[in-house]
């Protein structure tokens, strides 16, 4: 029993650590797609946001004496800002220029890693930007002393976990409880209806794509802070996984959290099977463990997709004359 509790205390933060970047980026994708713009550029935006965020943090660490958590916060904010700027390119192509949304996103995905490595090499002579410091919060005062909950949520946690929870609540509230959310959802389903009621489709879609850029950019920084001590031009395919989580979650915030949690759980279990009683007894090539999360997702999808519907107008540039 004691072991089981310890196991949970051990695994839970890992589930959360993987769930947070996945779900934040997927929520970003949600805003873009609910407003009617497909965003497969999440990977590229994560890389761009992560890159600039890490540069900012390195500069702060070198030149200031700020608390690491404050630096992390500034890093997340910088990543979000530049993610947003980068997403602007996608918004311009797909909304103003009415381009094929997959092409411009593919370009963004190619550009980001090349550009980040190019810049890093040109200015720092290396593509590996190391980041000193331990960004975990060992224990949140007061809250960390609460039995069980304190242990699960408020010790050895990342700042990003709390930001992630806040983002989830805010995102859900924005989407379902505010004027902007109502308009975003209407633009993804029936832009002609929204247009006839004076909603500026272009503006709303820009906002949707920019929100996705901000969240994906932040997700890029979170990825680096959570899983490595440096940035080297890659986020290990998390952007694409987040896209999968978005579709898996059927374009719905709560389902996205569950999809992300499911996928993250499978992924963590696949990597930590050695500590899990039962699993560690089975002798299997590690590749089989590694592919389990993907297979499990496929299986779940094939049972859960029957009624899945993308937002009706997603992927189509808005053309007021086609009505």
């Amino acid at each position: 029993m004691r072991e089981l509790i310890d196991l949970i205390y051990f695994l839970f933060p890992l589930f959360i650590a993987t769930t947070v970047p996945l779900s934040i980026v997927a929520l970003g994708g949600l805003f873009s797609e609910r407003s009617g713009v497909v965003n497969i550029a999440l990977e590229g935006i994560m890389i761009m946001g992560g890159f600039i965020g890490i540069i900012a943090m390195r500069a702060l660490i070198e030149n200031t004496e700020l608390n690491l958590q404050i630096i992390a916060f500034i890093g997340l904010f910088t990543g979000a800002t530049f993610g947003m700027l980068y997403a602007l390119a996608h918004a311009f192509a797909s909304i103003t220029m009415k381009s094929n949304q997959i092409i411009s996103a593919t370009a963004l995905n190619m550009f980001a890693p090349a550009m980040s490595v190019f810049i890093a090499r040109t200015f720092w002579n290396t593509s590996n930007l190391n980041l000193m410091g331990n960004y975990t919060i060992s224990k949140v005062p007061i809250l960390g002393d609460i039995p069980i909950v304190g242990q699960l949520f408020f010790t050895n946690a990342y700042l990003s976990t709390y930001i992630g929870i806040i983002i989830f609540i805010v995102a859900t509230a924005v989407l379902y409880k505010t004027r902007l959310g109502l308009r975003i959802r209407s633009c993804g389903e029936n832009p002609h209806a929204a247009d006839s009621l004076g909603v500026n489709i272009y503006r709303v879609r820009y906002i949707g794509v920019l929100i996705s850029g901000a969240l994906a950019g932040m997700g890029g920084v979170i990825f680096v802070l959570s899983f490595a001590t440096r940035f080297s031009g890659s986020v290990a395919g998390f952007g694409f996984l987040a896209l999968a989580v978005l579709i898996f979650g059927q374009w719905h915030p709560k389902k996205i959290i569950f999809a992300a949690l499911f996928f993250a759980t499978m992924r963590v279990i696949a990597d930590t099977y050695s500590v899990i009683p039962g699993l560690n007894m089975i002798v299997m090539p590690r590749e089989i463990y590694r592919m389990l999360p993907y297979i499990a997702t496929l299986v779940v999808l094939s049972f859960a997709s029957k009624r899945s519907r993308a937002p009706r107008a997603v992927g189509e540039p808005y053309d007021p004359s086609k009505r």
Binding site: T178, L182, E189, L197, G198, V199
Partner: protein
């Protein structure tokens, strides 16, 4: 008399076409002003200009004698102009309330105040007798209710000038009566109405004045009371037209199609949409199924042609049970099908005309050999049909269908289906959205088919068409056949009562 709206010398161009050419429209305070014209005459464009969806190249708009520029629907809304669009502008997975407040939301500290809106909507629907459930999802309510939502949208915005774009197309005669009452009530409370329509009797029944457009040009504005139907019609079409369709009495022969106890359950909503429907269509007759949109006609035809599976029942074609056959096999066993939605089902818009004309028989040896197309035959076939059915387009067989007009798209489908020379022709709303000329043409084709001994099954929402073309009429309501009529012995009103479910006959 003061004008509330003046649209003076409006010109609006789209690439290659002048949709409005020097058009003027003046709306008086408290009147119902009809805007008459055929499909494609520029009525909707003119109203879209007034509503801020388009900017005119020339001309000015005055509201209450003040010149205004209406850049978007918000401006129109601020000026008290509201519009019920012909194709409802509703978000299918939003609630009634959400649809009504969209674009005109009341917020407090950034959060939507839907409770207030709901209360207001309830009040308005009481006041104007427009009953709807504020919390129902649009996809779950009837077309009539959806129209009420559209009207509520305008009332919710306190619009003073109301534009109705072809509002009766989807309603029963009774619902039309109801709508007219609502419109009169609105006018009596000081609102002004523009009614867009191509139906003369509606204008006669309700409008005070009427502005007529033809091919984008302004023709005339007349007092309705002092103008006869014939004059209105001539002004609208530009030539004398005959009302009614010439045809000889039917000579029905043996049964071609027999539908036995067919029921269909919708897969997604799990609702029963067609219930125990039975009927027969005979060689040499036109059988029409009338009814309001959304009462199961679409699903019934999809069931017969195989686009939707039957939950129960049999379809028998020429004494052969075809229930279990695939769509392709059904089609080959002798069904021609002019589908309801030409752009959704009838055509591949990205394909050329000639490729669309072989959509139903590209696989026959006439057009292919071992899987390779015989391009010469395809071209010949296309040229033959273009000639025979007068299909007009920019580049003949090579025209991209998307670039063709609705009427010519429909002619292409009608031509394709008739050319297949099958014993059964199913035509679902074959004239929807077409101008008078095209309607006449298609009606003639249908009657000709009947006279050549084909069985014709027609689905129509337009009572005029139903009365004029049919040899027998079935009325469908909520998935059931609720009555059978002889067009010679019934009236539009009687049909309307059955269509709205107020009356129902014996089960067959």
């Amino acid at each position: 008399m003061a004008f509330v709206i003046e649209m003076l010398n409006i010109t609006k161009e789209f690439p290659g076409i002048k949709a409005n050419d020097d058009v003027t429209l003046q709306l008086k305070q408290g009147e119902i002003h009809a805007l008459l014209g055929e499909n494609g005459a520029g009525k909707s464009t003119l109203m879209s200009v007034l509503f801020g969806l388009y900017q005119p190249e020339q001309g000015i708009i005055k509201v209450r004698d003040k010149e205004v520029v209406i850049k978007n629907p918000n401006d129109a809304n601020d000026l008290g102009i509201g519009m019920v669009h012909q194709h409802f502008k509703l978000v299918h997975n939003f609630t009634v309330t959400e649809n009504i407040v969209l674009g005109y939301e009341d917020t407090k500290k950034g959060f939507l105040q839907l409770d207030n809106a709901r209360k207001r909507i309830k009040e308005l629907s009481e006041q104007y007798k427009l009953r709807v459930d504020p919390d129902a999802l649009i996809e779950n309510i009837s077309v009539g209710q959806q129209q009420r939502v559209e009207i509520l949208k305008m009332l919710y915005r306190d619009s003073e000038i109301l534009i109705f774009d072809e509002p009766t197309a989807v309603l029963t005669p009774q619902e039309i009566q109801e709508l007219m009452k609502i419109m009169k009530r609105l006018v009596s409370e000081g609102k002004s109405i523009i009614l867009i329509t191509h139906k003369l009797n509606e204008i006669k029944a309700i409008a005070d004045r009427c502005t007529i457009l033809r091919k984008g040009k302004y023709i005339d504005t007349v007092e309705v009371k002092s103008t006869s139907n014939e004059v209105l019609a001539e002004k609208m079409v530009g030539r004398k037209i005959s009302f009614g369709v010439e045809k000889t009495p039917a000579k029905p022969k043996e049964t071609i199609l027999k539908v036995e106890e067919v029921s269909i359950t919708d897969y997604i909503t799990q609702k029963i949409v067609v219930k125990n429907v039975c009927f027969e269509v005979k060689r040499g007759e036109i059988l029409t199924i009338a009814g309001i949109e959304g009462n199961g006609q679409t699903e019934l035809i999809h069931g017969i042609t195989g686009l939707k599976p039957l939950t129960k029942g049999k379809v028998i074609l020429k004494e052969q049970d075809i229930t279990a056959l695939s769509i392709r096999q059904k089609s080959l066993s002798g069904i021609s099908h002019i589908p309801e939605d030409r752009q959704k089902h009838g055509l591949v818009l990205e394909y050329s005309l000639e490729n669309n004309l072989i959509l139903q028989n590209y696989f026959t040896t006439q057009f292919q050999n071992r899987g390779f197309f015989k391009f010469d035959n395809i071209r010949d076939h296309a040229e033959k049909l273009i000639e025979r059915f007068d299909i007009r387009s920019g580049k003949g067989p090579l025209s991209q269908v998307r670039s063709m007009s609705g009427g010519n798209q429909q002619k292409a489908i009608v031509g394709r289906e008739i050319d297949r020379n099958n014993d059964l022709l199913i035509a679902v709303q074959p004239t929807r959205g077409l101008d008078v000329g095209a309607i006449e043409f298609i009606h003639k084709q249908l009657i000709q088919e009947r006279d050549q001994g084909k069985a014709v099954l027609l689905i129509s929402l337009e009572l005029d068409e139903v009365m004029n073309l049919s040899d027998r009429i079935l009325v469908m309501y909520e998935g059931e056949i609720v009555g059978e009529f002889d067009p010679q012995k019934t009236t539009e009103n009687e049909l309307g009562l059955y269509m709205s479910g107020s009356k129902r006959g014996k089960q067959q």
